[in-house]
Structure formats: structure tokens, C-alpha cells
Symmetry: C2
Subunit: 242 residues, 2 copies
DNA sequence: CGTAGACTTGACGGCACTCAAACAAGGTGG
DNA sequence: CCACCTTGTTTGAGTGCCGTCAAGTCTACG
């Protein structure tokens, strides 16, 4: 199979690609796989020989906290995200990649990525870029975690996901699917599930979102961003020559 | 000037380098600069044409929180860290790089880095690796922020810094200099300065550290790691062929 | 010896956590 | 078709970590 068109859009949003680069990108061979909620897509600590790209649904980077105190989720990934591309240079992950809801991914062999770094340096820099943007999102999560209260924190997560989904054409009309339980939102935001529930209710009461099950509808995009103090700058959505 | 030997050690800790790669690495030309406490080494949002490497002292990645509520620090960097290497592919930073205490850095032109990605793919992958390790540290900070109480959180920071300093030969004998005020520790850990002070006192009372001014002496390394639940795995200190 | 900046300590209040239980939705078997 | 169970969500009451306010101490330096 060929590489996800979501990822092609992800790159084209940020730089232009030469016909040669674009051709090589589309020529990457992949293996598809499908997962159910909670399935481990990539386990931690194992030596890796391939990396995975999100095709459909969402997945998370889940860290086990020593002392059996449950998990912490440090990233959410959507269609077009090259989820564990950093595994190509790190050789192993210090976290699991877990399916949120049902998902489909495709695997790309590291041998092929290595060949690309040898012969397509510009493409290689764009792959590097995608891991650098992941790092920028990690930093933003750190900033938000220590500067926003629960409601604004949750609002920021929703703003980020909706913006990212739109940027690859996977959402529109202020509506998207978030296959994440409140218990898992708690692992993402660093609160108890009960407190997450209060934050959800708060956003509902303020009439900023309609939220039933996994379906989220943003009712007041401007006000939601204002509450979250969201700015998409860190997502690096502008086009540059890299 | 040539590139910092701390960085050479940083890489050799994680992979072996061919004579050609090592030669090219040492041939990189740099420009030195010196900074005083609080100086901005690299400002946010500006178009970048070079990246900086830490030679001496420490610096931080400081984010301004919209709404004038002060700053959040998302990373600390030490000698041998290629601080804003991600700026090479991102083209601009969403945060400032600020000097903590007095520091010396050297700047490397992006043109030269680009040339390396064209002709030294293995070296390029190792540069990529260093940004991937930064991302792993961001993730670990997220994990620790949401799973440790103040004292353990602070203890984890000390464990990380001491381990990193030792890994490049910049510290030993359980002693190092941390040119970071308690007010700035508060920006790192996400607490108020007063609560940071309580955490410092707690570590002192438990006789885990001796801490006067900027000088820190670890009195009980085993117990400090146990309290912090520190494991160096995420620092990726093992040697692999990348 | 006086000032400035950093560190330290105490008192009090609020956001978020824990414990506990009720409610809703979906699936299963009688 | 409806008990019944499971899983997830919702709500309330009490606790504790951490924030805020305020003041006092220490050190460096002129």
C-alpha cells in the first residue's frame, strides 16, 4: 500500500515538495493493520524495525508510572501523524502506543526510511520536522498544564485537536469524533476522572461545546479559544522552505 | 572555533562514529558568545539562520503565557546540548532561549547543517536523535508533573540533571552547580516560589541533599532516586547503531 | 551600616483529589 | 421483552496539596 494522503497533506501544509520528493514519498511501501480500543499498537522498550502512521481513528502515547499508579498520556495522534517516527532514531520507545477507539495504521520499515535519509535529504528534513512539531506540542502541553485551570486546560485540548484535524482535512464544520473516555482524558490532563467530568460540564454549561459520547460539536469557537488562550502558532502551520 | 567536545561525548555515548563522520563533526565552524543571567540567547518567533550549542553554564526554554502571567520553562540545557537544533527544521522558535546564570554558547550556521544532511546522513540521523531525546525529556516532564508531588518532582529534576551532567563528563562526586533561582524553579516545576521552597526544605530535612545557593550536593543518591521514582531510561544513554 | 534581592516561615483559602453512591446506556440471557 | 450485569458518566461531601498574602531573615554589596 502507499503512504497516507493525510501525511502528504501534513507536509504540503508546511513546505513545498519537488516532484522527485513527492514521487518518492508516494512510493513508500506500507503494511496496514487495524486495532480495537485499548490495543497496544507499539509496545515500549522493544527494539523497533518499523514505525507507524495513523490512517483512521486516534492513538495515544501512554506511559506507565512506576508504583502501579496507572498511566499518563503524553500525546494524542490523529490521521496523518507519523506516530513513532522518533523510534527510527531512538530504536525503542519509552512508552506504549495505544489505540483510542478503533483505529487503522500503516507500518513503514526503517530500512526504507534509512534509504530516504541517504538519498532524499529534503524529504529527510521534513520527516525530522514532523518529530520536531511533536516536541513543540509536548512543550505546549507542559505550558498549558502549569498555566491553565481544568476547564481551560480541557478547552485547549479540544482547540488543538480540532485545529490539527482541520489542517489535514479530517474535520470541518466544528464537529469531530473524540474516541476518548473521560477516564483517559484524566490521564491526558493529569486530573482525576471526576474532575474531568466537572470540566466537561463546565464547558457544556457555558454553551461552548455540545458533547455526547465521542462526538464533539464546538458551539462557540471564538470563546472556546479565548477561554483556552489557544494560539496555533506552536503547530507550525505556515509554509517555509525547510 | 570547533564544536564542543561535550557534544562529541554526547553522541559517542549513544552511537559509534566513523572517522569520516567524526572528522566532519569536529570541522564544523562555530562562533562563540557569552551571556549573563537572564539574557535572551535566542528570541522567539524570529527567522533563524543558525542554532546554538551550550558550552558552559545552563540555559532554559522559556514560554510567555498570554495574559501576562509570567513564564513557563519547559526545558533546561547543559554543556553539550544542541539547544535549538530543532530551529533548523522549524525555522523559528515558539519560545525564548534564556541564559540561567552566566553561560557560553557557540552558534552553528544552518547552511552548514544543511550541507551535513546532504552528505553525512549518519551524522544527520544523530543530530535528529538529539532532538528526539529532547522530546523524550519533554514527555518525561509531563509524566512527572502529573504523577509526583512537589518534593518528588523536584527530586526528579535533580536526578535528571545530575545524570545528564555526568553523562557528558560535566559533573561527578554527587556535586553540581544549578544556577537557577527558586523563582525560576517554580517556573520549571509549575508551583509557586513558596511551594518550591517547601520542597527544597523537605529534601534538606530528609538529608537527601545539601543545597546552599547554586551548589547542590547529593547526600543519598539511592534514596533520592527512590523518592523521585527516577529511571534514566528516557535519556537514551545506551549505544545503538542508528 | 543600609539597601536590595533572594530565601524562609506562618496563616489562611481554594482548586482538585478521594471516597462513595446514584444514574444512564448497552449487551446478554432467560 | 425485560431483569440483570457491565461500563461509563454524573453528583455530593469531606480532605489535602498547593496558592496567596504577609512578614521576617540572610547575604552581598556599596
Amino acid at each position: 500500500m502507499a503512504i497516507s494522503e493525510f501525511f502528504v497533506r501534513y507536509l504540503l501544509r508546511r513546505d513545498s515538495l519537488s516532484p522527485a520528493d513527492l514521487g518518492r514519498l508516494r512510493q513508500i511501501s506500507t503494511t496496514q493493520a487495524h486495532f480495537l480500543p485499548g490495543d497496544i499498537i507499539v509496545p515500549h522498550s522493544e527494539r523497533l524495525t518499523r514505525s507507524c502512521m495513523m490512517l483512521r481513528g486516534m492513538c495515544a502515547r501512554a506511559h506507565h508510572v512506576p508504583g502501579g499508579e496507572g498511566r499518563v498520556i503524553t500525546a494524542l495522534h490523529i490521521a496523518g501523524d507519523f506516530v513513532d517516527l522518533h523510534g527510527f532514531v531512538m530504536q525503542r520507545l519509552e512508552h506504549d502506543v495505544v489505540s483510542m477507539g478503533a483505529s487503522s495504521v500503516e507500518f513503514i520499515e526503517h530500512d526504507e526510511l534509512r534509504e530516504i535519509t541517504e538519498n532524499y535529504p529534503h524529504l529527510a528534513r521534513l520527516l525530522w520536522l514532523s518529530t520536531a512539531i511533536d516536541a513543540a506540542m509536548h512543550r505546549q502541553w507542559l505550558v498549558v498544564a502549569s498555566s491553565r485551570r481544568a476547564s481551560a486546560h480541557l478547552a485547549h485540548l479540544i482547540c488543538e485537536l480540532y485545529t490539527r484535524l482541520c489542517s489535514v482535512g479530517a474535520a470541518e464544520q466544528f464537529t469531530f469524533v473524540l474516541p476518548v473516555l473521560q477516564r483517559q482524558l484524566a490521564e491526558i490532563l493529569g486530573y482525576s476522572p471526576i474532575h474531568v467530568n466537572r470540566a466537561v460540564r463546565d464547558l457544556r454549561d457555558r454553551r461552548l461545546v455540545r458533547w455526547s459520547g465521542a462526538k464533539i460539536e464546538i458551539l462557540d469557537w471564538e470563546e472556546l479559544q479565548r477561554l483556552a488562550r489557544f494560539s496555533a502558532e506552536y503547530l507550525d502551520l505556515d509554509r517555509f522552505s525547510r
